[in-house]
Structure formats: structure tokens, C-alpha cells
Symmetry: C2
Subunit: 343 residues, 2 copies
């Protein structure tokens, strides 16, 4: 995607991966360029994650202890320690608008004891992250202060699928005090009704007047269902990764563009969609590009899926402001539940 594509699709904020940017090209280089906005030429908001999730999923020989996460780079094997303080420092140098605290990501399923111990460590890390964030705020390092001026920091609620642990984590995280609150540790393999229940249980204990961010979710219906449970923000690879694999989201369910039934289909992916792909190309042509292995297939499919996701969020906001959200939700879930028109 080009920045212009994201703007046209209605993106208000993008996510930068701290792990990747720290290793390459490096947060110090990005700070010298004036921060991530200037480095990449994106003048709108950016959220950065803490780097923890990629350490757990990509890095080699990682070791987690109270200090933080020690790991070897997946690029060159070099040894690094991502401590809570370090995760804050890196994000300050990147100069994102929203920085995330470092938390521990548990694999699913995990026992109650494991989950409790991990959640408690995440709370201790959150307190260290907030202290570091506050100390940098009053630091006299003028360059970095300028890059990160106005940066917000979000805490992350953990506690797995255990309602009382979620409650305890939310209370402790809110007690530390952040500009917003995320729910972590979901969308990791648990059944969808469990995820919805945990979201409901957790948002009950979060402030009404601060943003709530569900990390790593979800399907279009997850967006609608979780907004219905009090969530404001999401991030997910689904629209982009599925696009590269040929799976497209439409107002009538998902389609897989490589299916033979689209070989002679002159219609757009979604006749209700306003994106460049739907305005310009037929399903037959997109199928051809995909089967021919053209880079353009991934580009055009991604453009459509991102537009579908951002349109879904836009429609949710409209329905809320028109006080028609409940009806919207019922109708959306009914059409989206036709999970796949193909295969």
C-alpha cells in the first residue's frame, strides 16, 4: 500500500512494529531522520506496539525473566534485551502518537497459575514502563522530546480467559494510569465466544472516557461484536494477509478470487464498494492476476480488503451516532456469517 491508498481508504492511524523498526533500520537512525512520521512520510497518527509480540513470535532463543525479554535477532542472530524501559525508549525515539507498554504474551491455552503469574509480571512491567515514560517526559534531551511531543501511552490488560484475573489486571493497570487501555492475550486461538465473553468482562472495568483497544482482532464480525462490547480500536493482519492469499471480504461474505467460478465474472469484487479495485477491475481480471503471480494481485486485493474493513468501522460509527447500532449489528452479522461463498 502507498500512503495515498490508505488515506483514500479512510485510514486514520497506522501501526508500526517496534521489533522490526528497532532491528532495521534502527530506532536511532529513525530518530535522526526526525522520527517515524518524517522518515516514512506519513503525516497522520501512528501507533507502535512494544515489540514484545514479535519477540515471542519471530525472534530466536528468547528468554523471558523479570528484566524483560532477551532474544536473538531473526535477521543476524545478534543478542538484545527488550526491557520495559527499553520498549519505552525505542518508541519515544520512533515518535509514535500512541506507544504501548511491554507485556508478556502467553500461548493459549495456559493454566490459571501460569496466567496469574504472567499477568502480575505484566502489571509490574506496566508500572516500569509508565515510570520510564514519565521520566522521559521531563528529560532535557531536546531532539527526542520534540519527536515524541504529545505521545500517549496505553496500558495492556492481560489475564487470559479468567474473568477474575482480567478484573485484577484491569484494576491494577487503571491504577497505574494511562491515556488508553488495550486488551491483550486474545485472538490467540481461543473460541470466539470465549473471546467475546472476556472482552465484555474486561471493558466493564475500564474507564468510559478513555480509548479501549482490542489487540490482534479480528474478522469483520469481530469488529462489530466487540464494538458492541465496548471496544474502540483494533489491529489485525487479516485484511492484508488474506488479500495476499486471494481471500476477499465483501458485503455478502468472503470470496476466494482464485476459484474457477470467477474466471469469466465481469462484475466487481463487491458492487457496493467504492475502492479503486472495485471501480476499475473485474473478478475475472483479478483472478487472472492472482493465478499469474502478479504483484499487482496482492496490491489490488489488499486495497479492497482494507477499504472493506475501514468502511465497516465507518458504518459502525455512523450507526452509533444515528442510534441504530443494534439493528446494524444484527444485519451485518447475518450477512457476514456467510463466512465463505466458496470452498
Amino acid at each position: 500500500m502507498r500512503h495515498r491508498d490508505l488515506e483514500e481508504a479512510g485510514a486514520q492511524i497506522i501501526l508500526g512494529n517496534t521489533y522490526h523498526l528497532y532491528l532495521r533500520p534502527g530506532d536511532q537512525l529513525i530518530a535522526r531522520r526526525g522520527g517515524l512520521h518524517r522518515f516514512m512520510g506519513w503525516p497522520h497518527p501512528i501507533l507502535t506496539d512494544s515489540g514484545g509480540y514479535q519477540v515471542f513470535s519471530l525472534a530466536q532463543r528468547r528468554k523471558i525473566d523479570e528484566r524483560g525479554a532477551e532474544f536473538r535477532s531473526h535477521l543476524d542472530g545478534s543478542l538484545h534485551l527488550l526491557s520495559p524501559e527499553r520498549a519505552v525508549d525505542i518508541q519515544v525515539r520512533l515518535g509514535s502518537d500512541i506507544a504501548m507498554v511491554l507485556d508478556e504474551c502467553l500461548a493459549y491455552p495456559a493454566s490459571r497459575d501460569e496466567t496469574a503469574a504472567s499477568m502480575e509480571r505484566s502489571v509490574r512491567w506496566a508500572a516500569r514502563c509508565r515510570a520510564q515514560f514519565a521520566s522521559i517526559r521531563h528529560d532535557d534531551s531536546a531532539d527526542v522530546a520534540a519527536i515524541s511531543a504529545g505521545q500517549a501511552q496505553f496500558g495492556i490488560v492481560q489475564g487470559g480467559v479468567f474473568a477474575d484475573l482480567r478484573h485484577a489486571s484491569a484494576a491494577a493497570t487503571v491504577a497505574i494510569g494511562f491515556e488508553g487501555y488495550a486488551i491483550g492475550g486474545l485472538s490467540v486461538g481461543e473460541p470466539v465466544d470465549v473471546m467475546y465473553a472476556v472482552v465484555s468482562e474486561t471493558t466493564r472495568h475500564l474507564p468510559d472516557d478513555q480509548p479501549r483497544y482490542l489487540m490482534g482482532a479480528g474478522t469483520p464480525e469481530d469488529l462489530v461484536e466487540c464494538v458492541g462490547r465496548g471496544i474502540d480500536m483494533f489491529d489485525c493482519v487479516l485484511p492484508t494477509r488474506n488479500a495476499r492469499n486471494g481471500q476477499l471480504f465483501t458485503s455478502e461474505g468472503r470470496i476466494n478470487i482464485k476459484n474457477a467460478r470467477y474466471a469469466e465474472d465481469d462484475g466487481p469484487v463487491d458492487s457496493t464498494c467504492r475502492c479503486y479495485t472495485c471501480r476499475t477491475h473485474s473478478r475475472a481480471y483479478l483472478r487472472h492476476l492472482y493465478l499469474a503471480g502478479e504483484m499487482t494481485a496482492g496490491v489490488l486485493n489488499t486495497l479492497h480488503n482494507l477499504t472493506f474493513y475501514l468502511d465497516t468501522m465507518r458504518r459502525i460509527r455512523e450507526a452509533i451516532s444515528l442510534q441504530t447500532f443494534d439493528r446494524f449489528r444484527q444485519e451485518f452479522v447475518r450477512s457476514a456469517s456467510r463466512l465463505s461463498l466458496d470452498s
Copy 2:
């Protein structure tokens, strides 16, 4: 590239590869979609090659005789015969605006005898292509006639590096009579001064009032030098292939974006360029995208190189209409001859 990118870069015509389209998705399918313009959503001119070049460079176990080129598909090994008549039929079904005759592509170097025999066969094939083209023009197959209405057909002059063979080929091809004339068999490994000499020698024998098309060339300086020798049209993979490899054309010579010297370079690729890439991103960011293996690197680099090429042609046209072409040519070749600022 998206179509919109090409339009913004100033592209007036694109080239479709008949070999690829014939094998996948198939010329019959494209004809059922209303032709290549409608299938791909490109409302501007399209030139199609004959398919011969890719048969020679990509297909397996190819056998050339008077009938045409027999080959096996590089996709599935299926056996095909690309005869002169077939090459015309396929391009009619694609419905391109300019169709090319089937010719034989000799490897360089080739002996005078080989070159003469091959050139003479290409002339015989050109006559067969023209006869087939004329018969389809008067065919009553309404659908295909509609798709290819107004299609032009270009002959191709062969003859290798031998001036008298080029002369004979040009005379014979012009005697058959086409809407335009191409020069084939150059840009295949011969020294650049030999190519320029052959171009000069060949254009002398082509009509002044019909388009001349140099196939497969070239560098930016080749465009300027060959327009100076009477060429109107070019096609070449150089701007797109080099872009994917990180080599960018600029008004001050070529640069390789992966070089370390650009790691902290906040300037655009070319400060005189109006393309989206130069307007939006720094060399430092483009280098990062390239080294990180991001698809966007190829996209943004290609957008720049195509804009550079199309701007070069636009500047040539302006200089000709202002009668300042000779001065433009001297200045352009002086700066472009700094072939690479790097490595």
C-alpha cells in the same frame, strides 16, 4: 503498477505480451470478455507483440520451420504451433490497437548467411500475416470484428547488423505495406554504436509519414539517440526490471538505492521529478523498504523509473516542437552518460 499510476506518469500506450496472454488466461477467454481493453480495464491504446520473442526466450523445446514456431508451454508443457496466421488471429481476439507480425528472432552474433535466410523467412511470414490480417478485416465474425475494429498492424524489419540486409528487409516489408514499421533484432547484445548505425541505416528506408518502432530498446540515452535517428516508439523492460533491483534513473545519472550512502539521505530520488515517489519519500526510506524486502519498494521504484522514461520522451517531443532537439540531445547525453553515480 495500477492503471492510474500509468496514466499519471503520462503513459499513452501499454504493451501486452501475446505469448503470456495466449497461454493464460487465453485469447478466447479475453475475446469473450470483450477484448483486452475491457478485460483489464485499460481504456487507452494497447500494442501487442506477436508472441514470437517469448517463444524464443521462455518456451521449451521450440522448433522453428517455415510453418512457424512449435513450442511447449513453460506453464504446463502443452504443445502449440505459433504460425504467422495464428499470431494474427490471437492478436485480433485480444483486440489490441497495434498488432505485430510474427518474425524470427536470431541470437547475436549470427553469420551473414544465417541472418539473410532468417530475414527472408521473416519477410515471407510478414506477407502471410498481412494476408491473414486483411482476410479477418473482411470476415463476418461480428464479435471479433468489433473487438479489433481499427486495429493497425506493424511490419518488422530484420537483417541483423548487415546494412544491405536491413535495406532489403525494409524494402520488402514496405512493399507488403503496413500501418507502421518496427526494427527488430537489435538490443540483443551488439555494441551500442552498432545498434545506432543499424537504426540510422534502416530508418533511411522507411516511410517518413508512418510510425517507426525500435523494439526492445533501451537506456534513456538510447531513446534520445534513436529519436535523433528517426525512431518514434520504444518498448523496454529496463525501467521496470531495474526498479525492482533498486536501480533508479535520475536527471544526474543512475543510482542504486541499496547503497549505504543513502541510509541517512532525506532527499528525494530526483529533486527535479514530479512522481509520487519523489514527492512523498526520501532515499533513506526507499533504501529501507528495499533492504526489508517490502513489495512497496518495487512499486515505488517502478513508479519513479517509468515517470523518468515517460518524462524523457515528453521532453524529446517538446524539444522537437521547439526545434531545440540537437541541444537537448547533447545536454541529455552528457548528464545521462554519468551512467552510475554508485558502484
